[in-house]
């Protein structure tokens, strides 16, 4: 399955990225309980291999469109942990100036277009970004992340069709974690094979083990190559599981402990280092944990020291006086 043909550096980078995301979010959960972070908070715990693997396949000038469950994507895309944490705190130093919070991370510098909390709402945007690239002759890819729940939305079907009929460079990354809030896939879809659904649009599509970070990276590279070659969009079904509840409000009544335990055995933060004992020995892992802990502590300190946007600025940017370059 996993290709052993990576070097030590590569293994460490993957492990470091997944660890950053996991620990960052675990800290977010604590901060949420402490009342430091408010609103909705959707954690990516268990799904880290996907963002980690896919982002490595993208170039700096590619674009990313994500959902409200996007902390992992933001970190893996290179958004600074300080600015991300400050956003959680609603501070003006936050990546969206504190106006978006957990669900609405935006970052022009990394071409990160949200953070969309309307299920399916990001898909048409991704299609348009790709259309702009195609019309302007730029060889860029737009990666669009969404959950399997979004497949029931009209926006999914319209966007897949549009991207396919116009042969646009979109990488559709469906993170199938089996539940849309509490609704299991089979309870909401008549056809549960998502690859078949994508194939109905004549879009190249295949499933990927989303718990295997190397598989994700490999398949994402292959998919990005196809998209970048101008052969139209690709749909990846990344099979995964969220270990925690949908959001901090969710009592998680709809799935069994056994099922969760079963998936936890596939935790990429456990299985990946176990598959690379030579590269990821205990000392290395400890080193990663130390670095990550320091980064997160610094991010919290940054957020704590952050300032609140003045209410006098409330109406700033409702409209823009120019297009930012």
């Amino acid at each position: 399955m996993t290709s052993p043909s990576i070097d030590r550096d590569h293994a460490v980078q993957l492990m470091r990225e997944m660890t950053r995301i996991r620990r960052f979010e675990e800290k977010c959960a604590e901060l949420y309980s402490a009342g430091k972070i408010r609103g909705f908070l959707h954690l990516y715990v268990g799904e880290e291999a996907i963002a980690t693997g896919v982002m490595r396949a993208l170039e700096a000038d590619d674009a990313v469109v994500a959902t409200y469950r996007e902390h992992g994507h933001a970190l893996a895309r290179g958004i600074n942990a300080n600015a991300l944490m400050a956003e959680m705190y609603g501070r003006v130093e936050g990546v969206s100036h504190g106006r978006g919070g957990s669900m609405h991370v935006f970052d022009a510098a990394t071409r990160f277009y949200g953070g969309n909390a309307i299920v399916g709402g990001g898909l048409p945007l991704a299609v348009g970004l790709a259309l702009a690239d195609k019309m302007q002759g730029r060889n860029r890819v737009t990666a669009c992340f969404f959950g399997e729940g979004a497949i029931a939305e009209g926006a999914f079907h319209e966007s897949m069709n549009l991207a396919a009929v116009w042969q646009l460079p979109v990488l559709f990354c469906c993170e199938n974690n089996l539940y849309a809030m509490g609704t299991a896939l089979a309870r909401s879809e008549s056809e549960t094979d998502l690859v078949l659904k994508a194939a109905a649009f004549d879009v190249a599509a295949w499933p990927v083990d989303g718990m295997d970070v190397l598989a994700v990276e490999q398949h994402a590279r292959r998919a990005v190559d196809v998209v970048r070659a101008g052969s139209g969009p690709v749909f990846l079904e990344l099979r995964t599981y969220r270990f925690r509840a949908h959001s901090m409000y969710d009592p998680d009544r709809y799935r069994g402990r056994e099922e969760i335990e079963h998936w936890r055995e596939r935790d990429p933060l456990v299985t990946f280092p176990a598959s690379m004992p030579d590269f990821l020995d205990q000392a290395t892992l400890d080193g990663i944990e130390r670095d990550v802990a320091a980064e997160i502590e610094a991010a919290i300190a940054f957020a704590e020291a952050g300032s609140l946007e003045a209410a006098a600025d409330l109406e700033r940017f409702v409209t823009m006086d120019r297009v930012p370059s």
Binding site: H97, F106, P124, L125, L131, G154, L162, R322, V323
Partner: protein, 335 residues
Amino acid sequence: MTAGGTRQLQYRVAMREAMREALLADERVFLMGEDVGAYGGCFAVSLGLFEEFGPERIRDTPLSELAFVGAGIGAALGGMRPIVEIMTVNFSLLALDQILNNAATLSHMSGGQFAIPLVIRIPTGGGRQLAAQHSHSLEGWYAHIPGLRVLAPATVEDARGMLAPALADPNPVLIFEHVLLYNVEEEVPLEPATVDIASAAIRRGGRDVSLITYGGSLPLVLEAAAELATAGIDAEVIDLRVLRPLDERTVLESVTRTHRAVVVDEGWRSGSLSAEISARIMERAFFDLDAPVQRICSVEVPVPYAQQLEEAARPRASEVVRVARALVEGRPVDG
């Protein structure tokens, strides 16, 4: 200086010329929507552009309002200057999510990191016996939304001139074109005038009463003003032109002079743009008023097919005359 010559121009053709000019002037401009290309546009506004500019820039879309409006937003984010046409305002509801949750929101929510220089053109309004799913006037709903600019060209000159500044605006601009205006022909200067997209226009000066309207109702209000003149009543006619942000000053200055106001709005009365105008007059010019502000709106029914019913549902010039006369003569409006 221009020679000062004029020509007859049709509203539909004016809009087409404006699009053509924009397409020629800026590579980033393109038009997309349902049947804008090979078919020539369902109101024939884009007729001929497909042949001239080709299928890349005059882009026929599938029946996917949500996706192609959203794609317009994405394309604007990606550096293009899209003009999106939605066949009629009723269909825009299928894209409302993208218009509100993305187009109107992303700049503010991202802390000013992104702008969305997008134009959406939407035919609106009734009067063609197209019944209740093709005849409504929902521009007032859109005028509720911060982050959008909402335009209602009521004259051929505005149809010709509003698109260029709309495309130059870094924000999403919605242009509502009343379907009854498409065939209107007017005398316009040979050299297209530059128009602003910020202010209301006084289409007829007057001392006795302010008739405030926009879009497809302007012709009937001008007709009413002419009739009032024969009765010795001098009505001022204000064309709002811009439904958001409202040019409150022009309205208030007029009312301060005439002391009476009638708002004519093809939208439904409850929670309407006319309610907003009326409220602002009350808030800001109450002590200048000699009579309560009056409103003439569509009857609150789904617009019916049968001609006499549709006519009964829509604002009429005769009603504007009746209400304005009552105000000026100090009589109760009802009865």
